[in-house]
Each structure stands twice: as C-alpha cells, then as structure tokens.
C-alpha cells in the first residue's frame, strides 16, 4: 500500500499550476480563474459581475488585468481567464489602473448618486470600489438615464433600474442557480434593463438572493427597505432552523430588533444561498403576537397572565400528580423546533422522572431507524453518480437542498432518478422521473424498474434522498419503498430529509420514544382514550401539524392537563392549561443539527420577547420544581454534557468547530432494512387518491406571522388532472366536496397537467378548509370521492 507523505515535497499535484501575480508567486489549480487565484493570494481585483458560485459573464469589465503574452502584455478580464503555468499577471500597472478607473467612471456615469437614501449605501460594492479603484471624480456632465423609481418585480423585491449597473448577477442567478428565469435583460445598448416578462412577476422562492448579491442598491427587499443603515447593524453568524437544511446565515439587528438575515457561503451546505422563507421570516420573531409572559387557564377556560414561579409550580404539580399515578400518564410531544440543548435538557428531565413517551416528530416524519442506515452528508449525496429521490418536492420543503441537487443535475455531474406521485421542482432536471400512484412506490420498484435505471444504479455510487413524499400516505409505505431501493442499490447511502429544523438533533438527543413507548400518533390515541394525564407540548402544535386532524383534536381534548411551551398562541397552545413563553430563534444560543447530522452553532442576537426563556432553561427549572437537579447551569454546560453523554454528539465537544462549517455527528453502526410485501393498495376507479405535501408558504407560524410572507400561501385547494375535472363536471375555480371516510371537506378545485389522473393533490396546512380532516394516520393511503356541491 502506498501512502502519501505530506512532508514529502516531491509529491506533485498534477493539477497544480503556479503563476505570479504582482510578482508574488501563487499556486492555483488547473481551471481556476485568475481572479479566484488572486483572491486566495490576497491580491484584490475589483469586480462586479463575478460571483464565485456562478458561471463568469465577463460583463462589467471591471476586473481587467495585464497578462504577459507572446506579443507583450495583454489586457484580459480576470474573471474569465483561467490560470496557466508560468503566467505573469499584473493587477496594478498604470495601464491596468487606467483601464479600471475608466470602467468605474463609465459605470458611475449613469448611476444616480443617491447613496444617502439608498439601502445599499455603506455596504455597497460600487461605492466601496469607487473609492478604492475609481478615478475620484466624474467628468460625466450629461443627463443621466431615467426610469421610474423602484418598481415591484415581485411581492417582496423592488427594482430600481436607475441604480442598476447591468452586471447580470441577478439574471444569471435566476436562470442558472434557481432555475426560475423570470427576469432577463430587455432592450439594447444604453437602454438595456433588467425586467420581468409582462404580467409575470419574479415569484421565485429564491428571489431574496438576488437582493443579497446585487452589487448596488438596484434590488431591495421589502422586509428590510429603509429599516436600518448598514453601519447601525449588529450581527452574529448563525444557522437557519426554518427547515432542516441548516443554511449558514448572519443574523443582523438594529436597536434590539431583527432586521435582516443574509446567507453565508459555506461549502458543505448552502453556498451562500437562502430561500425567501428562511430569509424573511425574522418578521415573525418581531411579531406583536409573540408570547411574552406565562399564562394559566382559569376556571372559566380563559388564559390569565401569571408569573413564572406560579406557572412552573402549577406545571410541576400537574406532573407530580400524574407521576404518582404512573409515568405512563405523562407524555412529551415536540422539541424539533429548538436547539440540541433544548432537546437534551428535556430528554434529561424526562429521564429523571421516568417518562418514556416522548416524540419530536408529529406523525409526519420517518422512523428513527433511517438514521441507522449508511448515511450520506449533502456533499457525499451530491458526489454520487446516481441520486435517487424518494422525497417530497424539495423545492417546497427544503429549498436550498433543491438548489444543490439541481446544480449537480444541470451540470450533468450526477443522474437524478426521482420516484414521485407528482412532478416536482426537480422534474425538469431529473434524468428519469418514475411516476407512481400513492402507496405503490414499493411494489413498483419491487416489480422492477426500467432497465436503463437499474443499469445506471448498478454502475456506480448511489445516494438516496428519502422523506415523506406524501403526508396522506403512511411512513411505512416510504420505508418499504426505501428497502426495495436499497435492495437493488445495496451500496447506496441515505440522506434522510425530515423537514422540521432540528428534528435530527432532537431525536438523537433523546426526544424519541424510549423502550418501545408510544410515539406521537399513539400518544394522541392514548390521550383520546383518557390515558394521558399530562401532555407536554414542547414547541409543537399537533392541531396544525399532525396529518390526522381528528386524532389530534380528540387527543388534546382527552388529555387532562396540557402544558405548552411555545412562542405563539397556536391552536394547540390555546387549549393548554399552562402556557410558558419560549425564546425564539435569534434569542438564544446553542447548537442545531441539520438533516445530514451536521452540528453547528446558533447564536443569540436580541433579547427574548418579554420574559420568554429558552426551552432548556425551562426544563432545568421545571426539574428543580420537581426536586431534580439536572446539573445544568448554562447553555455551555448543556452542550458539554450532551457531547459527553450522547456518543453521536461527541464531536460537539469541540465548540470552536461548531462555528461556520460545523461538525458532522458520529454515525451509528449501519443496519439493513428488511424487505416486505407491500399491501396492494388497490383503488376504486371512481376514487381519487390523495397526494399531499407542504408548500414553502403554509399556515405555519413563520409564514403566518411574517407580513411579507403571509400573502404568499396559496390557500387550501384541491388540484386534479384537467380530464378528471371534466369527469367531476365542474369548472376550475368552483367549489367541490371532497368526501373522505372520516370527513367531507369543501374546497375550491383547480387543474394541473402535473397531477396524475386518478389522484388529487392537496397542499398541506394551508389557510382555508383543512384537508387533514380526511387523513388517517392508521391508513396506508387516503382515497376520496370528489363531487359537485349539491
């Protein structure tokens, strides 16, 4: 076996290229651009259109440098010229300086100097580089270009064409990265402008990124416009917990109020991008509706504000009384919205008082055994030759993961095979899309996939992205299908895509049924049967999230006492006997775990609303009220104890590593899934089988309480194939009755060619009549009839 000795300098990287930049010798890799090599060597070259995560355009011409050529020095743009062995680059000669000053003067020629009222002023690349590389003053005395000052190109993004320097960053992003080519150049020459297509807004889930990468103040976002000046901002680096992708962000505040999130570029996760929901939902944290004080329910069923001591005392009394009956009369649902520390402290409390019935998932996840399969990180999953998607529409549920997969698919680095019941945002990029009727994924794969797919799977590395592709279909159904995939691709690594922010961290930290105890669906069923005395809702809202509205309702009604720890008065919280206000994202320190098991820090930026406290602290205090000492005095204590207690969290002991890229948790010893015959799930041809998954914008708190996002939820609806609509005999837009076994729900109907015939697509948890009334957690699939209103 040969090993490479790093101290052995004779080892030569065949792709290494050495060049000199301003006399400094620089090593780069073949294919690197001069501007990137210069960045690494700390030789700054001014730029506007160049963005390391997008294909170079060579548009602004600001990064001109001199390269020694056979016929003397040549002027080249460093953002499009690759490095070459022995290349001699000069970035500061008189000629270069003159060219760069010339370009900057030209860029400023038509740029309105309205910096004092421009949001970008103070953090503006044009402003900064005009100072560092500009000519100092302009000789342009003509009238500048005039356009109507900002026009709304979408609900949240405004475009000021006067400020625009036509760098092609936003348009390239929309086309290349997001795949929503809804903005483009129109007109020509001096009249060139960025514009949407007529009557088609820039309604991309990723539109906020264009605002972040705009090198001037041409694009601004409604939630931040005129809120603060950059020099007033205070910021910390953190990790977004809106979904489980775990994008790295900076959280910025002004006067103790969150005003903006910006994406941070880390290689393993988000590459600097954020989705609009993750970017703009700080508005919810600033909401007037936040819970800021504890409440107790009085004899008339009204919530009355109280003190922490009386609220904790009441909660402790309830738990103590219940424990006296049996530890099985206490249950905890939730925890996936908090930090690892929050989850761990609550798991410690549950351990201390012997409560095994705890579940961070709300009957909408996957069994924890998916974490015991051979795991892939996002990078590992993307590096596979074949990526199999057995997942919901990732564009809706985990938008930045969607961007990562789209990237490899578009660049043909991997072949994407999706198995789905409805075309997704990745269908246009997928190599093969296998359409399956709900409930039939496992039997379809078992019956044999297309030969070309099997050949592709058999020929190399495979990753499987697995999640609940349909919330009206049972988790078992997905696990059976996964077992079939792993049977034909035993080498495959799995990337579980559970949606809720810290679901993986919460489960791993111990908020998962212990010793075969009841999970959320079973807890609710027990509660409905009067067997749960005290139900703790840890940042969870079963009434909105459990895909069986009836079960959730009966469960909450049947529990004698409900203790809710939450940030808002949600439907479930309003039924609670004790309400404890929790600190939200940006109001607490700690760590979080993303879907691949990456642990990274989240940071406090502002003081919590009112007297709200972090969940872990509530656990500690409740434990002390119950006479237990968890031995946890600070969030650092909790992290340290977590790293020491839970083997998978051991890497978190290195707290420095948790910043920026984070660390991946230790893996479990892989198990194999057993295959089993899936139920036939045959369907009456008069019925429609329900496909349901979440849209990015739904009735969830972070959308509903963010004024900029709340209008973007599409509302409850039922979508069928156009031919099926004819069969129902109504026009699109009419209301129909969707008749399930458990309930009948009246919904507006619309059509889409994307919906398979015989299926009905219902977005999950949207404002309006609730489709979940028809769902049944115990059923594999849900079939309904759709009829005209009588």
């Amino acid at each position: 076996m040969t090993t490479v000795d790093p101290t052995n300098t004779t080892h030569v990287d065949p792709n290494a290229v050495s060049l000199t930049i301003n006399g400094k010798s620089v090593s780069a890799r073949k294919g690197d651009l001069i501007i990137a090599a210069a960045d690494k060597a700390n030789e700054f070259i001014p730029r506007f259109c160049y963005h390391p995560r997008m294909a170079p355009a060579g548009m602004c011409r600001q990064c001109l440098v001199e390269v020694e050529g056979p016929r003397g020095p040549m002027m080249v743009v460093s953002c499009m010229t690759p490095v070459a062995e022995g290349q001699v680059v000069r970035t500061e000669t008189e000629q270069v300086k003159k060219a760069q000053e010339g370009v900057l003067e030209l860029l400023l020629a038509n740029h309105p100097l309205d910096c004092p009222v421009c949001d970008k002023g103070g953090e503006c690349p044009l402003q900064d580089q005009a100072f560092s590389h500009g000519p100092g003053e302009s000789r342009y005395v003509e009238e500048k270009r005039h356009y109507e000052k900002p026009i709304a190109i979408s609900d949240n993004v405004f475009l000021d064409r006067e400020r625009c320097i036509l760098c092609d960053r936003c348009t390239r992003f929309a086309d290349e990265v997001a795949g929503d080519a809804l903005i483009s150049f129109t007109s020509r020459g001096n009249n060139t402008q960025v514009m949407t297509f007529p009557d088609e807004p820039f309604s991309s889930y990723f539109s906020g990124n264009t605002v972040q990468i705009c090198p001037v103040g041409a694009l601004t976002a409604k939630p931040y416009r005129f809120k603060a000046r950059p020099w007033d901002l205070d910021q910390v680096e953190s990790t977004c917990t809106t979904c489980s992708v775990g994008c790295r962000t900076v959280v910025q505040s002004s006067r103790d109020e969150l005003v903006r999130y910006q994406g941070v570029d880390i290689d393993p996760v988000n590459w600097g991008w954020l989705c609009d929901k993750g970017r703009f939902n700080f508005e919810a944290i600033n909401s007037e509706d936040r819970l800021s004080t504890p409440y107790l329910k009085d004899a008339h069923g009204n919530h009355v504000a109280t003190t922490w001591s009386s609220a904790l005392e009441t909660a402790a009394r309830m738990i103590r009384t219940s424990l006296a009956t049996s530890p099985e009369s206490v249950a905890i649902i939730g925890g996936a919205r908090g930090t690892n520390e929050d989850a761990f402290a609550w798991a410690q409390l549950a351990d201390a008082i012997g409560v095994d019935q705890r579940d961070a998932q709300l009957a909408d996840g996957l069994p924890a055994e998916v974490f015991s399969l051979a795991q892939a990180t996002i990078d590992e999953a993307m590096a596979a030759q074949t990526i199999i998607l057995l997942a919901p529409d990732l564009k809706e549920e985990l938008p930045v993961l969607h961007l990562r997969i789209r990237d490899v698919a578009q660049k043909r680095k991997a072949k994407v095979v999706e198995i789905t019941s409805r075309p997704t945002g990745l269908t246009p990029s997928a190599w093969k899309s296998v359409m399956v009727e709900p409930g039939k994924a496992a039997s379809t794969i078992r019956a044999g996939l297309d030969q070309s797919i099997l050949k592709q799977i058999g020929s190399g590395t495979v990753s499987v992205v697995v999640g609940r592709m349909n919330l009206a279909e049972s988790a078992e159904s997905v696990v059976l299908a996964l077992a079939e995939i792993l049977h034909v691709a035993p080498q495959a690594k799995v990337l579980p895509v559970l949606r809720r922010g810290n679901v993986r961290g919460a489960i791993t930290a111990g908020l998962t049924p212990q010793r075969g105890a009841a999970d959320t669906a079973e807890i609710l069923a027990l509660a409905a049967a009067g067997k749960i005395d005290t139900l703790v809702l840890l940042g969870s809202d079963p009434l909105s999230d459990v895909p069986d509205a009836d079960l959730a309702r009966r469960g909450l009604a049947g529990a004698r006492n409900i203790i809710s720890i939450d940030t808002f008065m949600t439907p479930s919280t309003s039924q609670a006997d004790v309400v404890l206000p929790a600190a939200a994202y940006g109001e607490k320190n700690g760590t979080t775990t993303n879907l691949e098991g990456r642990i990274s820090n989240i940071a406090q930026k502002i003081t919590p609303a009112g007297t709200a406290r972090p969940d872990w602290m509530i656990a500690v205090e409740l434990a002390s009220a119950l006479g237990k000492d968890l031995g946890l005095g600070s969030v650092e204590d909790v992290t340290a104890k977590l790293a020491k207690t839970v083997a998978q969290f051991a890497p978190a002991a290195d707290t420095k590593a948790l910043r920026h890229d984070g660390v991946v948790m230790n893996r479990l010893t892989p198990i194999t899934l057993n295959r089993a015959e899936a139920p036939a799930n045959d369907r009456n041809s008069y019925d429609y089988r329900i496909v349901s998954f979440r849209k990015l914008y739904d009735s969830g708190i972070s959308t509903a309480k963010s004024p900029s996002l709340v209008t973007l939820a599409i509302g409850a609806t039922v979508v069928v194939h156009p031919l099926d609509l004819d069969r129902i005999g109504v026009q699109a837009g009419a209301h129909v009755q969707v008749i399930g076994e458990k309930a009948t729900v009246v919904l507006p109907v619309s059509t889409s060619e994307d919906v398979l015939r015989g299926t009905a697509w219902l977005p999950f948890n949207q404002p309006g009549n609730d489709a979940r009334e028809m769902f049944d957690v115990n059923a594999t699939v849900v079939d309904v009839r759709i009829e005209k209103l009588s």
């Binding site: 011409r61 499009m80 010339g102 030209l106 860029l107 000789r139 150049f185 020459g189 060139t192």
Partner: protein, 465 residues
C-alpha cells in the same frame, strides 16, 4: 421571376472573376443557369477525393476569411478537435457593417454558389450540419437562398447521400432579427441558439472548440465559401495565380460615398490599390463632380480612416495594418472635400452606440457618452474641453495608442493596427474609431466648431487679491 438589375457600378470586364462570374446573367440565381455554368461540378469533384485532400487544397490556396479578420479558412477548419460530434458549419450572412453589401449580392445573385461552397466546406472539414444565418433585413437574399436551397434539396445536392455518395449534410436557414452585433461570430451563435445576441468571451468560447450548442463550430463568411467552387474546379495553382502570395484570389469590395460609380467590385487581392479602385475607369471612375478626395474608410465603418496619402496602398492586410487601419469587411466609404467631417464621424458613432448590445460597460456607457459629446460639438455648443473628453472616453474603451494613418501635412506617423480594448467585441472600439480618425486628421474642423472656454480672472468677480 423578374430579372434583377445589375448592382450599380458592377462592370463586366476581362478581370478574373472568381465569385461574380454569373452576375452578368439576369437569371443568375436559378438552378438552371447555375447548372449551365459549371454549377455543382465542384462538389462532384470534391466528393471523388478524400476529404483531407480537399481540405489541403483549401489550405494550400490560403483562402483568407472575407468577413473582416482575414483568417485563412483552411487553417480555421483545422482547429476543431477531432472526433467530437456533432460539429457545425455556421455561415455568417449577417452582413451589417456600415458600407458593406457584398455578401448580400452574392446571396441574391448566386445563391447556389454559396450552397455549393457550404457543401464543400462541410465535406472537407468533416462537419455534420450547416446553419445559414441571413440578416433580418435582407428580404430578397432570404427569398433567393431559400428558393435555391429547395431546388438543391430537390435535385439531391443537399441532404442525405449527396449525389449518391456517403456524404450527407443538412443546411438550415435562419433569419436574424437585425442586430449589428450578431455579425460577430459568438453573438451570432448565441442568436442562433435563441438567446439574446450578445458576444461570448474568447476564451473559453472559441467556436472551433466550443461553439453552437457547445459543439465544435466553424463560422465562415458568405464570400469565403463562395470562393470554394471556383477553387475546386480550377485548382490551387489557378487560384494562387491571382493576387499575391499572402493574399491570393480576388476580393469583393463595396464602395459607397462620393465616387462617380459606387457599387460592388471584384478586385484582385494584394494588387489592386485604393487609387485603382477609386479612380480607375473600370471601377469607380473618380470622385464625383471632379471634387478632390478628403478621406476614405478602407474597411467598413469601424476601420480607422485614410487620407489621399494612403491611396497607393494595395488591398493587402500586411500593408494596410501597419499603415494604421484594416481591410475589414471590404467596404470603402469615400468622402470628398465637401464632407463635414465631425458630422460624418457622428453618423458612424451614432450607429455603433445604437447597436451596442449592452453587455460590456465601456461600450454600453462609453458609446452613448461619445455620441452625446460629439452631438454637442457638431451642434456648435461644445467646448474645447469636450474634444479632450472624447479622447479620454475613447481611452477607457481602447487603452493605449489608437491606430491612425500617417499624415505628411500634419507630420503624423502611423500607429499600426490593431488596438487594445476593454470590451469583448469590436462594437465598442468601433464607436470610437471614427472619432479618433477625425480628431487626429481633421482637428481644426472640430476646433472651429467649439466654444473656447473663457477663464474669468479672479479679480473680475471681486474676490480678494
């Protein structure tokens, strides 16, 4: 079909005719006439030989590209990577350089010659498909080429198994939408792909390696391809016997402006001089009304200008370049003594500013800025500082010395072609070229137009001494 009058100025004569041999017939564009005058014999001859041999003939004849850059076609064909399929021929029929209209005539008057040229090129260079891109405004050329292509398909010259051989090729017609910049090969490829016509940067987008749809692509000018049937029929020796060693063959030039007989002429490469062309009786026959020549543009609107000092230069790139200009697209624009030089420069600058695609900052912003300053000067409201400003803006587009012709009277030495530029393509520098030439050679005409800046003495406004 109605007959089409000869282009004004076209003169039948005894000079060698490589591409205009059929122009004397009024039905030159029909397949019958083409077949009656050796049409489609060259492709038959080519197909009887191995492709490499045909390629070598074209290389040996040094057929220079007639689009502007003058790069030898045979060498260009050799730049494509081997064994990468598909690979394309794109015919640049988007002739739109101000003053240029030679390709239009070739397409209108002898479309079959072009089609045969395409076939030979595809066979020799091993290209699997041909795209013929014709400028949007050339309605008659579009009609004639389309008709000719239908005839050629019907007769089995184009399509599957050309003339029963194993060689198959399809020719696809595409009409442009009328953007000047699309004459630039990479912008033409973008346009052909259905995108905005904006140039791509070379590298990495050298069409020969990474062109249409990312495949190896040869982009050739119409006239270049029209040369091939004659070359194959008559052989390399006959071809190189015309013209000089470095510039063999003939060349189509389009003359416009103040001459007695403007029009398109097929002249002898490397030998015919500008004086022959402008004053020769068989060509333009001298300056109109017996006026004297003031200046001329030797190679399309973007070329630096010449004055009578350069009249004796031949049509030879290796001589015109060092003299400070270029042969470009073969368009000669003649200005006599009555010409208002600043206004003439403005006309050209306006064109290039208007035709900027908007991609590169210096062209997008600089072109319009130049136009605005020059408009002021022409209108008589400019200042002498504006003249300096014109040069300053030009320097931002083309850093370093800009080429210009020598001038004895002014004691100017020539600055050789080419220039450095901060833009991707030549549209930006082209907006500045006429201004630079005009300002360098005829500065006094500008100075007569501008208002001298008055310096107000400090004491006059009562500021303390």
């Amino acid at each position: 079909m109605s007959s089409y009058p000869h282009a004004p100025g076209f003169v039948a004569g005894d000079r060698p005719k490589v591409v205009t041999s059929r122009f004397e017939y009024t039905d030159s564009f029909t397949i019958d006439r083409y077949l009656a005058t050796d049409g489609y014999t060259a492709i038959r001859k080519a197909l009887s030989k191995p492709a490499a041999e045909v390629h070598d003939e074209v290389k040996g004849a040094t057929v220079l590209g007639r689009g502007g850059a003058g790069f030898p076609a045979g060498t260009k064909w050799g730049l494509t990577p081997q064994n990468v399929w598909p690979r394309y021929l794109v015919v640049n029929g988007d002739e739109s350089e101000p003053g240029t209209y030679k390709d239009r005539l070739l397409m209108e008057r002898d479309p079959h010659q072009l089609i045969e040229g395409c076939l030979i090129a595809c066979y020799a260079a091993g290209l699997s498909q041909c795209f013929l891109y014709i400028r949007g405004e050339m309605a008659l050329a579009q009609e004639r080429v389309a008709t000719a292509l239908n005839e050629a398909y019907a007769a089995g010259y184009v399509g599957k198994n050309v003339l029963g051989s194993k060689f198959s090729v399809d020719i696809v017609l595409h009409w442009g939408a009328g953007a000047y910049v699309v004459g630039e090969e990479t912008a033409l490829i973008e346009s052909l792909e259905g995108n905005r016509g904006m140039p791509r940067l070379k590298p990495p987008f050298f069409p020969a390696a990474n062109g249409l749809y990312g495949q190896p692509t040869i982009v050739n000018n119409v006239e270049t391809l029209a040369n091939l049937p004659w070359l194959i029929n008559n052989g390399v020796e006959a071809y190189t016997a015309i013209g000089t060693k470095t510039s063999p063959g003939t060349r189509m030039v389009a003359v416009s402006g103040h001459v007695k007989r403007p029009g398109v002429y097929e002249i002898i490469n490397g030998i015919t001089t500008f004086r022959d062309l402008l004053y020769g009786e068989e060509f333009c026959g001298g300056i109109r009304n017996g006026n004297s020549l003031k200046a001329f543009v030797p190679g399309g609107g973007s070329a630096p200008w010449f004055t009578p000092d350069q009249l004796d230069l031949p049509f030879e790139a290796s001589q015109v370049g060092p003299a400070g200009s270029m042969l470009g697209s073969g368009a000669i624009m003649v200005m006599d003594e009555t010409t208002d030089i600043p206004a003439a420069a403005l006309t050209l600058t306006h064109f290039y500013a208007h035709e900027s695609c908007g991609k590169c900052t210096p062209c997008r912003e600089g072109g319009t800025w130049l136009e605005r300053i020059l408009t002021r000067v022409v209108n008589g409201t400019g200042t002498d500082a504006d003249l300096q400003q014109l040069i300053e803006v030009g320097t931002s587009i083309c850093p370093g010395d800009f080429p210009h012709a020598s001038n004895e009277a002014l004691g100017l030495a020539a600055v050789p072609f080419p220039y450095k530029m901060t833009t991707i393509c030549f549209v930006g520098p082209s907006a500045y070229a006429p201004i630079h030439s005009a300002l360098t050679l005829f500065r006094s005409e500008f100075e007569a137009r501008v208002t001298k800046r008055i310096t107000i003495p400090v004491t006059a406004v009562g500021v303390a001494q």
